[in-house]
Symmetry: C2
Subunit: 134 residues, 2 copies
Amino acid sequence: MAFTLHPTLAKDSILAAKVGPLQVRLVDDARFFWLLIVPETTATELHDLDEKTSGSLWKLAQHLGHALQSHCDSDKINSAAIGNIVPQLHFHIVARHIGDAAWPQPIWGYGKAEPLADATKAARIEAIQSWLGN
Amino acid sequence: MAFTLHPTLAKDSILAAKVGPLQVRLVDDARFFWLLIVPETTATELHDLDEKTSGSLWKLAQHLGHALQSHCDSDKINSAAIGNIVPQLHFHIVARHIGDAAWPQPIWGYGKAEPLADATKAARIEAIQSWLGN
């Protein structure tokens, strides 16, 4: 079975960069600076990834977490693979601030996304690409 | 500054095993089979771990996720580092089942923990130790 991006992920996020088989996507939600890493695989669990992809995902997650925290001056980075609703493997990296829309609760399933303004979306995508040396 | 286990983690979970500097803890909640990996470090973000500890944590998380899924015949493994309330770095690995107490929502901040019966607690700790070859 070939990889096809899940329609919910396609609707809710924008491809910002590719690192090997890993898509880096920006979630279209102005409440949080929120990234997804989506490996182009049919595996649905982190422990089902091949070792190379798993290692690359972890390395990329650390790199993006660090860059996101510096960029946003965030109080906490939240990282997770959940997938109860969208089973396609996707790893969340979210910048959190004390007093943000959901603080201190997790963001997943919390309230409604607020679409990004075009200028903010473009600026975030540019930032992500710069962190990856693109 | 030396590592001291955060009192909330000490109260809510039980040490089941140690793998190098990584504590494997069982959360005292009968609603879910829920593990924590707590690196004995003062870092609070995954990307602030030294490379060796970070790699060990990731490898252990995959191993425990796989074992937990087999053991519980779970529908999904949820993995996360959040830390908005307890900043000490702790990585969650939780077996989820369709129809469980929080499904399909994330478990963090959801309802109240239900303490484990002694026999269940002992059986879970024994299982964890067996997965680690103890």
